[in-house]
């Protein structure tokens, strides 16, 4: 058992947590799964609704080929089996925001079968199995708090294409769930199949949690926490749920299979419906749609379209640029970050670029809560700054000052160096003069040094730097000082 394993401990009994996720990812597409209505987020209510979406009599669904393409693309990105024949089923239930009285989904025969996702844990890589991916329609939205007397319905989302990605119960901790969601999102963003925007609901998940005593094989009864829309809430829900289940077992109770909701105000899960009250969805193949059949050529064409994915890019960064796995993982986790990095290193030192992006730039972005696509410093200018360091024009310390200026105004660092006179002093003659001045005005310290107080060397460097107003080339100062003092 490794040190970083997530364990719930109650009365000295240790429980392992078993987690499986059903992620609902909105397909990035201009139009809906079975109609031509637009899918733009945040539009006026009921402005993106066709007769099909509102389930008018005699209206029929027609599959949007682009959404099929997106699902296949995602399946390939998850190293999954693409099923050449899949079937759309009707999932029947009544709700005000479900105009048809059924959701068109895929039940027994999904478009994508088993696949996998690799997580980069501190202890090494871990493979999470994917059970399946299927296409389905989203429902509309019921709004209960706008009119005191009634519920209002917005059908803009009705019929929007979702990919439901079901993992195997391979996740073992809230942190693994965090990494899994981020990895999934990263893959889909690389592929352009889902924007992964959790605030807008483009990515949400049902979380299945069960616990089992460490050392035993017997799986516990699982509870499903419905529709959690942020990673933080997923983690909190798992933590709460695992502890709740452990407490139940410790008190001699059994866990009932049920569907629960996460209350984001109380940070608790609560029962939504028991197994007995579970809906009978009466799934059956939708007679309005023929089985979806894909030919080899269709799949091959999509394969040709698959860009370099995070894992491949990471390996390339490690092999080609000699980055550490840690650096590479960080740089590839977000497609835009990796693009930024690759722009910077076109003309700059790789190692320095990696350090500056993961260090200074990330700190700056975090501080201002910005995405890398919104970076105040362009990759071109960052590259120039790094080159000024590499060729000795400025020191690392000056570079940070310039970076600070650039963060407020995205200016060519060469110009900043010129304007502010920040160019590094590397002229041996000038440095020698500076050093001589410092030594002359500190004769007592020179004596002390010479009598064995080696530590004073740092003091002299500092004084020279100060005299040069920080512009002295540190390597040269070191070299000349040593010659003078030891000579």
């Amino acid at each position: 058992m490794s040190k970083d394993q997530y364990i719930i401990e109650k009365n000295g009994n240790k429980y392992e947590v078993i987690i499986g996720l059903e992620v609902h990812a909105q397909v990035l597409s201009e139009s809906k799964l079975f109609s031509t209505s637009a899918t733009k987020f945040g539009s006026e209510p009921n402005t993106q609704v066709s007769l099909v979406d509102a389930a008018f009599p005699g209206m029929l669904p027609v599959i949007n080929e682009f959404c099929v393409r997106q699902a296949v693309k995602t399946g390939i990105g998850l190293n999954a089996k693409i099923n050449k024949k899949s079937i759309f089923d009707r999932k029947n239930y009544f709700y005000a925001d479900l105009p048809q009285g059924y959701q068109i989904s895929q039940y027994k025969d999904p478009i994508v079968g088993e696949g996998s996702v690799v997580l980069d844990l501190p202890s090494g890589p871990k493979t999470i199995g994917i059970e399946r991916l299927h296409l389905e329609q989203d429902a509309g939205k019921s709004i209960h708090d706008l009119d005191p007397g009634s519920t209002l319905v917005d059908l803009n989302r009705s019929g929007v294409a979702l990919m439901e990605i079901v993992s195997k119960p391979d996740l073992r901790s809230p942190e693994e769930v965090n990494l899994y969601i981020k990895k999934l999102r990263s893959i889909m963003r690389y592929l352009g199949t889902c924007d992964g925007n959790m605030q807008e609901g483009s990515l949400r998940a049902d979380v299945n949690v069960s616990i089992k005593k460490v050392g035993t094989d017997k799986l516990g009864t699982r509870c499903e926490i419905k529709n959690v829309n942020s990673i933080k809430f997923m983690q909190m829900a798992i933590e709460y749920e695992a502890n709740r289940q452990a407490e139940l077992l410790e008190a001699g109770n059994t866990i009932e299979q049920e569907t629960r909701l996460f209350d984001t105000k109380k940070n608790q899960t609560r029962s939504m419906r028991s197994k007995e009250d579970a809906h009978d969805y009466r799934y059956f193949p939708d007679p309005d749609l023929l089985p979806l059949e894909l030919d080899d050529q269709f799949i091959e064409n999509i394969k040709k379209d698959i860009p370099e994915l995070p894992d491949q890019k990471k390996n390339r960064f490690i092999e080609k640029f000699k980055l550490t796995p840690y650096e590479a993982t960080i740089l590839v986790s977000d497609l835009n970050t990796s693009k930024f990095f690759e722009k910077v290193i076109k003309k700059s030192d790789v190692k320095l670029s990696a350090n500056w992006i993961t260090g200074e730039l990330f700190a700056l972005l975090n501080e201002n809560n910005l995405e890398i696509s919104e970076s105040p410093i362009s990759p071109e200018n960052l590259s120039k700054l790094i080159n000024l360091i590499s060729d000795g024009t400025i020191s690392g310390k000056i570079a940070k000052t310039i970076f600070e200026i650039m963060s407020k105004e995205d200016k060519d660092p060469n110009i900043i160096v010129e304007e502010k006179g920040l160019k590094q002093e590397s002229d041996p003659k000038a440095l020698e003069d500076l050093i001589q001045n410092v030594l002359s005005s500190n004769e007592d310290k020179v004596k002390e040094y010479k009598s064995g107080k080696d530590k004073l060397f740092g003091f002299f460097v500092g004084q020279v730097m100060k005299e040069s107003k920080g512009k002295g080339n540190p390597q040269m100062i070191n070299k000349i000082l040593k010659e003078k003092l030891n000579g």
């Binding site: 389930a55 008018f56 009599p57 005699g58 029947n92 009285g101 007679p287 309005d288």
Partner: protein
């Protein structure tokens, strides 16, 4: 005027094109007669004023190159018609006015036809006697107190009573062919995928097909030619080369092999029907066709299979009528209460019965025993037909096991009502084309029909066979206008 309404559709088209008569003359004649025939209760929505205007518009600027130039037509109220109330004869859609047009009706208007009004039918096309309509039962012009059949009962009655020169219906288990048979008219159910389902109020999606109902086979070919089209708005529409059914129609069926399935000789079938079937065979022989005995061994399972598959699909198709978006809504304490009240008040008994059966057979624990098994049997029934079509070109059967019955005779016995569809249902389950033509009369002088079943997409084949038989049979529909005061 009497002369005008006695002309067949193809004769009318000819006379309009030769400018012997105007669209307005025809339209007015049908409207006059329709107004006098209210007793039959065929129309649920009349668009007479608009029809007159449209006929005038046509006459002022006629386009004779179209296939139905200036022809007035009433259609079954299951087809959505833009800006004209479409109810499916249900209270739940009582005031529903679509903003769109079904593909099939659009095809009619594109060829110059003019809408006369919407015709009564069984509620959501569920019924075999037109007695389940929210707007009351339809009376057959054949006899007072006689049902016209169903579900396209309003269409059959209006056609037989000469309130429209031709009409269209939908057929899920016999809803075109059975009423055609009961009223001495011609009705054709095309191959599944031939006519678009877009804009037709759905009953059972895998079985529903629109088709023509006409006075003779020629008219039937003409109507089918206009109705049938490939439609990308219906995913089950099939893109095949559609012949010119009307101009290609011919009586040369020499050497055609016609199968006679022994399983259609059911217990209790009146001898008149047996005799009629026998006559039909002889007519075909006279035309040079060869008669071959065949077996469709799974026929006896067709009706139970149908009454699982159709209600299952219907229970889901009708879920959208929930009072939320359009149609009838009953007030309720909360959402669930509103659903329950809306649906209990909005649907009639037969529709509720089928929703309940359908919900039951799809329920977890029963799905495998009913729905799944029914799908397997459906495949066997289809295989039966595929097998015999290796040896025969078409199949001849009676259209129904009996002639029309009295209003109210079977309303309390749903199973005996369902048995009416015994010869038509297998054709829907297999997705094949079938045509019913009038072939004779029973002892009460009620019409009886014969059905010709064809290979997939061979509408032309069964039309040609029906065309040949029609000449030999020489059936004349006689009504004495008893319902007109």
């Amino acid at each position: 005027m009497a002369h005008l309404i006695d002309l067949t559709l193809s004769e009318l088209v000819k006379k309009i094109k030769s400018k012997e008569i105007s669209s307005k003359e025809i339209t007015s004649a049908y409207i006059d007669r329709s107004i006098k025939s209210k007793k039959l209760n065929t129309y649920v929505e009349e668009t007479f004023e608009e029809a007159i205007k449209n006929s005038e518009k046509f006459d002022n600027n006629p386009s004779f190159e179209k296939k139905l130039s200036g022809i007035p037509l009433a259609v079954k109220d299951l087809f959505c018609t833009k800006n004209v109330k479409t109810t499916a004869s249900s209270k739940i859609l009582e005031n529903f006015v679509p903003t769109y047009e079904s593909t099939v009706t659009q095809n009619l208007w594109n060829e110059g036809a003019i809408l006369l009004g919407k015709l009564n039918c069984d509620e959501f096309a569920m019924g075999s006697s037109n007695e389940t309509s929210h707007f009351g039962n339809v009376i057959s012009p054949i006899d007072d107190n006689l049902v016209p059949g169903g579900s396209s009962g309003g269409s059959a009655s209006a056609l037989a009573a000469k309130l429209t020169p031709a009409t269209i219906g939908t057929d899920t288990g016999g809803s075109i062919r059975q009423p055609a048979s009961f009223t001495g008219t011609v009705g054709l159910k095309p191959t599944y995928g031939s006519c678009s389902r877009y804009g037709i109020v759905a009953f059972a999606s895998s079985l529903d097909q629109a088709g023509p109902m006409t006075r003779d086979v020629k008219d039937c070919a003409l109507m089918l030619e206009v109705m049938s089209s490939f439609d990308t708005k219906d995913s089950t529409s099939i893109n095949f080369k559609r012949p010119n059914y009307f101009s290609d129609l011919n009586k040369n069926i020499k050497g055609k092999k016609i199968g006679i399935p022994k399983e259609y000789r059911v217990d209790g079938m009146p001898s008149e029907i047996e005799n009629l079937w026998e006559k039909g065979k002889n007519y075909l022989k006279d035309c040079g066709a060869e008669i071959i005995d065949i077996s469709l061994p799974h026929t006896k399972y067709a009706l139970p299979t149908y009454y699982i598959v159709a209600p299952a699909e219907a229970s889901s198709n009708l879920a959208r009528y929930d009072g939320v978006k359009y149609g009838f809504r009953a007030d309720g304490e909360n959402l669930i209460d509103m659903y329950e009240k809306t649906r209990s008040q909005g649907f009639g008994d037969e529709v509720k019965r089928r929703i309940m059966i359908g919900t039951y057979v799809l329920s977890s624990g029963y799905y495998d025993a009913y729905y799944l098994k029914a799908q397997k049997v459906r495949k066997l029934i289809k295989n039966d037909f595929d097998n015999v079509f290796n040896n025969v070109d078409a199949i001849l059967t009676p259209s129904t096991p009996s002639s029309a019955f009295k209003i109210g005779d079977k309303t309390n016995d749903p199973v005996s009502m369902y048995l009416n569809d015994i010869f038509t249902v297998p054709v829907n389950l297999a997705g094949l084309p079938g045509i019913s033509i009038p072939a004779g009369l029973d002892k009460n002088n009620y019409p009886l029909g014969l059905q010709v079943i064809g290979k997939p997409f061979d509408e032309q084949g069964i039309l040609d066979i029906a065309f040949s038989m029609e000449e030999k049979i020489n059936f004349k529909l006689k009504t004495n206008d008893w319902w007109i005061k």
